[in-house]
C-alpha cells in the first residue's frame, strides 16, 4: 500500500445474497485530490463507500483508507473521515444544533464550534428548528456540516448536492475545494456529472460493479468530442473536412452551413477548415454528461 494514497481498493468483491454488487473494484485515490466517482444508480457507488467505512463486509479484495484497514481499525479511520450518506436520515426530533453536539461528542469534542457555526451560516442553516421541520435540502445541509465539522483528512461524500438548490450546490462545491486546498482528500460519488466536472481532478466510472475507466477530468474533456458548426462564405462541398478522421457529419443547413461532431486534435480540423473561405466557425465542447452517456451507450452496444 502506498502512503501517498488516501484510498486504495483492490479487487473488491461484494455480494448481496446471490447478487454481485461489486465485481473486483480497483481504485487509487491520491491524498489531496478531489476524486469523482461516477456511475448510474445501482452501479455500486454507495456499496463501495460503505465497504470503505466497514458498514458492510466484503467477500473479497482489500481496502486501505489513509493507510489503515477498515476491518481492523474502523474507529481510527472513522475518526479521520467525514461521511455523507446518499440517503441521509437523522433523529427527526433533534434540532440541527443537537445533531451537531451529538456527533461532535461521538468524535470526542474534536470540532471547533465556531467552525460549525461558520459552516451553518454559509449554508443558511437554522440551528434551532427540529430536523422534522426541515426540507430535504436543509437536512442535506445538516449532513454536510456533520461531514465537514471536524476538518477530516478524507471526505467520503455520496451524492452531496443532490437535494440542494443551484446556489447552495455552488457553495458546497466551494467548501469541498477549500477542504482540498487545506489538505483534505475528497471522494465524491455522484450521478450528477456537472458537480464532478466542476471540481474533480480525476474521475472513475463504475458500471455494474466494476471500474471501467479512470481518467483526469481535464483529459476526459479535452479528448472528448466537440460539436462544430461552420458557415462558409460561398456554397462549398468541403469533402476534405468530412473525410477527416473523427469527423461525423450531422447536418447540412444549406449549401453554406454544416454541423459536425468531431473527436480528436483540434489542430488538424482548424488547419483543414482554414483552406476554405469561412464566415463563421463555432465549436462547443460536450459536457461530461454527454461523454458519460456516449460512453455508456457504447458499452451497452458492446
Amino acid at each position: 500500500m502506498h502512503d501517498n494514497n488516501a484510498i486504495q481498493v483492490k479487487d473488491l468483491v461484494k455480494f448481496y445474497g446471490k447478487v454481485q454488487a461489486l465485481n473486483g473494484v480497483n481504485l487509487e485515490v491520491k491524498r489531496g485530490e478531489i476524486y469523482g466517482f461516477l456511475g448510474p444508480n445501482g452501479a455500486g457507488k454507495t456499496t463501495t463507500i460503505r465497504c470503505m467505512l466497514d458498514l458492510i463486509r466484503t467477500q473479497g479484495g482489500s481496502i486501505s483508507i489513509l493507510g489503515l484497514n477498515p476491518n481492523a481499525e474502523p474507529e481510527v479511520i472513522k475518526a479521520r473521515v467525514g461521511y455523507l450518506p446518499g440517503e441521509l436520515h437523522m433523529d427527526e426530533n433533534m434540532t440541527a444544533k443537537q445533531i451537531f453536539r451529538f456527533f461532535n461528542r461521538l468524535r470526542g469534542n474534536r470540532s471547533d464550534w465556531k467552525f460549525i457555526e461558520e459552516l451553518s451560516e454559509r449554508l443558511k442553516l437554522e440551528l434551532k428548528n427540529p430536523i422534522k421541520n426541515f426540507s430535504k435540502g436543509n437536512k442535506q445541509k445538516v449532513g454536510i456540516v456533520v461531514a465537514l465539522m471536524h476538518r477530516p483528512e478524507l471526505l467520503l461524500l455520496d451524492e452531496p448536492t443532490g437535494s440542494l438548490d443551484p446556489l447552495m450546490q455552488q457553495e458546497v462545491l466551494r467548501m469541498l475545494v477549500e477542504a482540498r486546498d487545506n489538505g483534505a482528500t475528497v471522494f465524491l460519488s455522484s450521478h450528477i456529472i456537472s458537480e464532478v466536472q466542476a471540481i474533480a481532478d480525476r474521475v472513475a466510472i463504475i458500471r455494474k460493479g466494476i471500474i471501467v475507466e479512470v481518467v483526469e477530468t481535464t483529459a476526459l474533456l479535452k479528448r472528448s468530442m466537440r460539436q462544430v458548426r461552420i458557415r462558409f462564405q460561398y456554397p462549398t462541398e468541403a469533402e476534405e473536412i468530412y473525410n477527416l478522421p473523427g469527423v461525423e457529419l450531422i447536418a447540412k443547413d444549406d449549401s453554406m452551413g454544416v454541423s459536425l461532431k468531431f473527436e480528436g486534435e483540434m489542430d488538424t480540423l482548424i488547419k483543414t477548415v482554414a483552406k476554405y473561405s469561412v464566415n463563421d466557425f463555432e465549436t462547443e465542447r460536450a459536457s461530461l454528461e454527454e461523454i458519460f452517456l456516449a460512453y455508456y451507450e457504447g458499452q451497452e452496444d458492446n
Binding site: 448481496y16 445474497g17 458498514l55 458492510i56 466484503t58 472513522k78 440517503e87 441521509l88 433523529d91 461521538l106
Partner: protein
Amino acid sequence: MFTIIRNTLRKSRGALLGWGIGLAALGIMMGSLFDMMVASSEMIDVMNAYTVAMPELAAMFKMDEMGTPIGWLDVEYFSFVPLIIGLFVTGVGANMLARDEEDGTLDFILAHPVSRTALFWGRFLANTLVTIILMLIAWASLLLTMTWSENFSIPAFDLLLPFVSMFGIMMFFMTLSLLFGMLLPARRMARMLSGMLVGASFFITLLSAAVEELESVADFSPLAYLETATAIKDGLSLDWFGMFIAINLVLALIAWQLFQRRDIRVGGEGSWRLQNLKSIFAKNST
C-alpha cells in the same frame, strides 16, 4: 459509550414518562383498593363464596390470600403487571438497534468513531437502566400508597424483592426480543414474536394453577419463575434470579456477535438472516 447511553436515555424519556405514569397510577390504585376491600365485608363474603363454590378458580386467583397486603398484591398486582412490563420490554428490545437501522439513522451513526461494541452495549445498558427505572417507579408508587393507607403495609425492602425477581425475567424477554431483532427481517416481527411469547408465558403460568395438563408446560414458562409473595415472605431465590441473569447474558452476547458481523442496511426492512447464526462460529466473516 457514555454519549450513546446519554442519547438513548434522552430518547427514552417520553416512553419512560408515559409507561411510568401508567404504572404509578396502577400501583396507587391497587394500594388504595386494598383499604376499600378490607373495609367491605360483602367483598370478603364474595371471595369466601368463590372459595367454596369454585375451588379451582379460587385457587388459580389465590382468593383465600387476598385479605392480606401481600396476598392482595400477589393476586391483583403482580399477576398482570409482568404482562404490562413484558410488553414494554419486548418493544424496547426489538427497537434497540433494529429501529435505527430501519429508519436509516444507524448507518450515519456508525460512520462516526463509535464501535459496534460500544453502540450495542451502550444501548443495552441504557435500556436496562430504563427498565430498572420503570420498575422503581412501580415500586415507589406502592410505597407512596402506604403513606396514607391504613391497612396496606409491607416493608420497603421486602416489597422490592418481587421487582428484582421480575427484573431478571423482564430482561430475559428484552434480550430475546433484541436477539429476534438481529435475526428477523423486521423489528415489528421481532416485537410481535417476543410479545406473543410474553403473552403465552403469562397465560400458561396463570392457567397452570387450574389446569393440570399445563403444569409440565409451565416449567418452560419464564413467568412461572416469578417470585412475588414468596419473595416478600421468605426472601428471593438467588438461584433462579442468577439463572435468568446468566441466560440473559448469553442471549445478549449472541445478539452482540450477530450485530458485530452483520451488514448495516441503508434503511428499511431486511431479508431473513437466520444464516447469520452460522457467522457466529465462523473464524472470519470478511
